[in-house]
Symmetry: C2
Subunit: 305 residues, 2 copies
């Protein structure tokens, strides 16, 4: 089956690296020239900026299950001086995939439906240490009712453990369960008191994907889900190269003069938790929610207008 | 005497921390609420964003010399979705200080000239790993003929040693000495081939402050200057708190689960080199160049227009 995930965030936040790390396949050759919007390439220049929305697919096997994974990479909005409209190509891409599915659904012969809708959107948050930026709130508000939003704190090795805890608290200071859809409504308004957002709670509630807790689950699964939830947003580090630790192990990580960070070490970052949620336990959830709720909302609005 | 330095760059790049680190005085209490543009405070909120241009002064002693240090902190332009005009308040601030000096110069009694002009501007570059962003080039082009520009790679502990080397190369790929003013003209156009900049060399030359090499200096000073030059832009890390290293030393730094980075360790970052250039060896240079060249250019343009 097919799983489509989109990555959104500033240039240089490690999106391509994280994709490679997550799927353990070099979907991106980070040294290969990336093409420009007009189709020409960067001539071997390793600057590696994504200019246009690009889609890459790979057939991968996870847990004995074969799946076609597609990653939709979006231009880093840090590339524009004026970001007023930076969200538009991204929303258009999501909508066009809904339209493509709607068009298939309306055919006489519907035996081979291709589900190319975006099932998850990983939103990369700058590890500023302060709070979400106005542009983050703007982007997430444009996206959260169209796609499962999974915000992650990018390049989390920039932050000490204390800074991660403090930052996560500011970034999810008010959480209430939307029991109908097992959603977490996160009121990000509390993070930017310097803007008008503090006064506008309802207006700024952003729904992010949180693994549902089922009443029928055993204690162990509930505990595991709660553990995952307390870590959201995940503070991630990515690496698709192997390095040697001080005690001689070969690990995926980043090697600094003062120490080596290990991507797969849960004491170092939440990468394992993100991967677990995205690929193992909740891939089906993400696809179903896209189909049953997000797509239906889109279809209803489209047919009514 | 008086030394005025400005800090410019995105929110969350560690500007306030670096100021505290550089001058070894807590000019900024990072936990104190910062005030808003309308004068109200953030009510104990430790989000710590700078909203308006703020100026802080302190009397400090360096090498037995007493000086009044002023730091001009500018709003992080990462706070705006649209940054088209974000540079304007900064340029206005520099110009108004030139105007204040011009006004003093024109008085009958000039015995007590107060030099509040900006003598240096530390420009913080995001450690994306790619290249300068369009907004960086735009800002630096607006500033470099008005103030001594000292670009630094912020939060350099985000980058491995290889990434620092590669990034610095991309950020200063073409350097030619302007022998008249002992300036380094850095053609940043080579870094963003994805935009039109590649075609417009003269248009995009940005002059940054580089310690002059004097013909009369002894070999040791020349070697030291060359060493400083090869490190520009400096890859800096800041910290105003003390941490304990694995071997038990108390150092200024940042403590991660995978290791402790030491700000004053030259194998870890270029902080010492930046401090040396700014406070010890080139403070006088920076003030003289501001007075003899940058201010004179401003004055001439103003009187002619
Ligand atoms: N410190 C740090 N650097 C990273 C991480 N992931 C990637 N990088 C580096 O950040 C730079 C940009 O990464 P890239 O994946 O191209 O970012 P993208 O522009 O968002 O796709 C590269 O030098 C990467 O090696 C991370 O988790 N931590
Ligand atoms: N990784 C890293 N973090 C830093 C560094 N300097 C400051 N920080 C952290 O970055 C966050 C923002 O710092 P701050 O000085 O307030 O940034 P400003 O908004 O540019 O003034 C805080 O959590 C600091 O502790 C640094 O050199 N490296």
């Amino acid at each position: 089956f097919q799983f489509v995930t989109m990555v959104v965030g500033d240039s240089g936040l490690g999106k391509s690296t994280l994709i490679n790390t997550l799927f353990e396949h070099k979907l991106y050759d980070l040294n290969a020239p990336r093409s420009l919007a007009n189709g020409s390439s960067l001539n071997g220049n390793a600057n590696g900026r994504t200019i246009a929305i690009e889609s890459k697919s790979a057939d991968i096997e996870e847990n004995g299950v074969r799946l076609k994974l597609t990653v939709v990479d979006t231009p880093g909005f840090g590339d524009f001086v004026n970001n007023d409209e930076a969200w538009k190509p991204i929303v258009d891409n999501i909508d066009s995939r809904f339209d493509a599915y709607l068009e298939q659904e309306n055919r006489v012969n519907r035996s081979k439906l291709m589900d190319n809708r975006v099932h998850a959107c990983i939103y990369f948050i700058q590890p500023t240490g302060h709070s979400l930026r106005p542009i983050d709130i703007e982007f997430m508000r444009k996206l959260h009712h169209k796609v499962n939003l999974i915000p992650v704190i990018a390049k989390a090795d920039t932050l000490t453990d204390d800074e991660v805890v403090a930052f996560k608290q500011r970034v999810s200071i008010f959480q209430a369960f939307n029991k109908v859809h097992q959603r977490v409504i996160v009121a990000y308004f509390l993070l930017s008191p310097s803007t008008q957002i503090l006064n506008d709670i309802a207006h700024n509630q952003i729904s992010i994907f949180q693994p549902p807790i089922y009443d029928l689950e055993d204690e162990e699964t509930i505990a595991e889900n709660e553990e995952i939830q307390s870590k959201v947003p995940f503070a991630v580090v990515g690496s698709d190269t192997f390095v040697t630790t001080a005690d001689g192990r070969q690990v995926r990580g980043r090697s600094y003069p003062w120490g080596t960070i290990e991507v797969d070490n849960e004491a170092h970052c939440d990468f394992i938790k993100l991967r677990q949620m995205l690929i193992h336990t909740h891939m089906e959830e993400l696809r179903e929610y896209t189909n049953d709720v997000l797509y239906e909302q889109y279809r209803t609005q489209k047919l009514l207008s």
